[in-house]
Symmetry: C2
Subunit: 235 residues, 2 copies
């Protein structure tokens, strides 16, 4: 019997119309769909593609416990890999979906690391929030010979300051609770008035603001700050 | 009369199945499609979506002269903006397509800079080669708190060396004739055995190689080198 293929499927930034034709074809034909989910409640990745799924498909929710100290993410993905491997060994293809793109800071890497040596794995790239946020802000990300820096909000303040110094263009991703630190870095580098803020790009609750107007108390995890030293990439 | 909207449409890295549902809907309904093209011959962007176009649509080929000293790119886009604006003013929507994503080192910025103040413009993000190349190489681009550097091959050797020093992950884009320089930089930083090479990702002539096996005489413009300091992003 032919063993199944694991597809790592990027489902884009949030608007269901921003999935690719290929992701749509696979999602509507594979017998098994897996997705990350919170301990309780709905999966964001699944919600993006919910209208494309059918009741005949088997679903695997990979649920992240709130208390990751007691039950670490590695253990969650160890079990998910076992569950998925059973389907692959039985000849059933599995689509593991994730928001944005599977290989751009995506949770799919946990499954890839566990399953790619023993199984057939194909990654289907998707539209990352890195591309959706500039489109939402009406601000080109990078052009010509710009050097572009992608920096997670989690990075230490000193390192962020050093990395962003003299940069042509930058995106600070997953800002969330790190906004205060980011603000200090941008002020030190005199980049505040060069910065756009975008949260939940392409979703119903999308927000686009100049940096100075952000409400620090309401910055979610899925948020991004875009910076261009020249102000506008095309000039 | 309602004026038309200019859509900046990313058509993805090459595989026609990697365009989004939204790009597909717009491409099959707008009356006018514009695309960059060489002075003679076929447009790469148009070739990606050729099967979705119909003879009823008006096409605008934005042709780049070989001799850009005598006829600069600015003059080409000045004329293209005038041609497109005529359609918009007459109430016709125009889809300006480009490979990958419009705002990620895309040629759409030239039209955006000329038309966005006077016309309604909407950017539809696409799958960039930045995401297609890691998928093709089976190598996650970045994960967790990695700082990721995107560096065009055109950048000066000293700057490239400085930017890539101590980086977690990097993509050197548009390598082409700059391979020799890139090789010297990677050797100086002891990153050669951490580097994957991808050209023409998702196209029929896709090539994926370890850095050491590249044939320097055959590196095209649409090529990329992916580097991860830990070797594999998920570890």
């Amino acid at each position: 019997m032919t063993r199944g293929t694991l597809f790592g499927l990027g489902v884009g930034p949030g608007d269901p119309e921003l999935i690719t034709l290929k992701a749509h074809r696979l999602l509507t034909t594979v017998p098994v769909v897996a997705y990350p989910a919170p301990e309780h409640g709905d999966s964001l990745a699944r919600s993006i593609v919910a209208s494309f799924l059918s009741p005949e498909q088997t679903e695997i929710a990979i649920r992240m416990p709130l208390d990751l100290n007691r039950f670490p993410v590695e253990a969650v993905y160890d079990q998910a890999a076992i569950d998925i491997a059973e389907h692959l060994d039985a000849g059933r293809d599995v689509a593991a979906i994730c928001e944005g793109d599977p290989f751009f800071y995506g949770s799919f890497m946990y499954l890839f690391g566990r399953l790619s040596e023993q199984h057939q794995v194909e990654v289907v790239p998707g539209v990352s929030s890195l591309l959706a946020c500039p489109a939402a802000a009406g601000a080109p990300l990078a052009a010509r010979d710009d050097v572009l820096m992608i920096c997670p909000g989690l990075v230490d303040e000193d390192e962020m300051l050093q990395r962003l110094a003299n940069v042509d263009a930058a995106a600070i991703i997953k800002v969330g609770r790190h906004l205060g630190k980011v603000r200090r870095v941008l002020e030190a580098l005199d980049l505040v008035d060069r910065a756009h803020y975008v949260e939940h790009a392409t979703m119903a609750d999308q927000v686009v603001l100049p940096f100075a107007e952000i409400d620090a108390a309401k910055v979610p995890y899925f948020s991004m700050i875009l910076i261009h030293r020249r102000g506008e990439a095309w000039r």
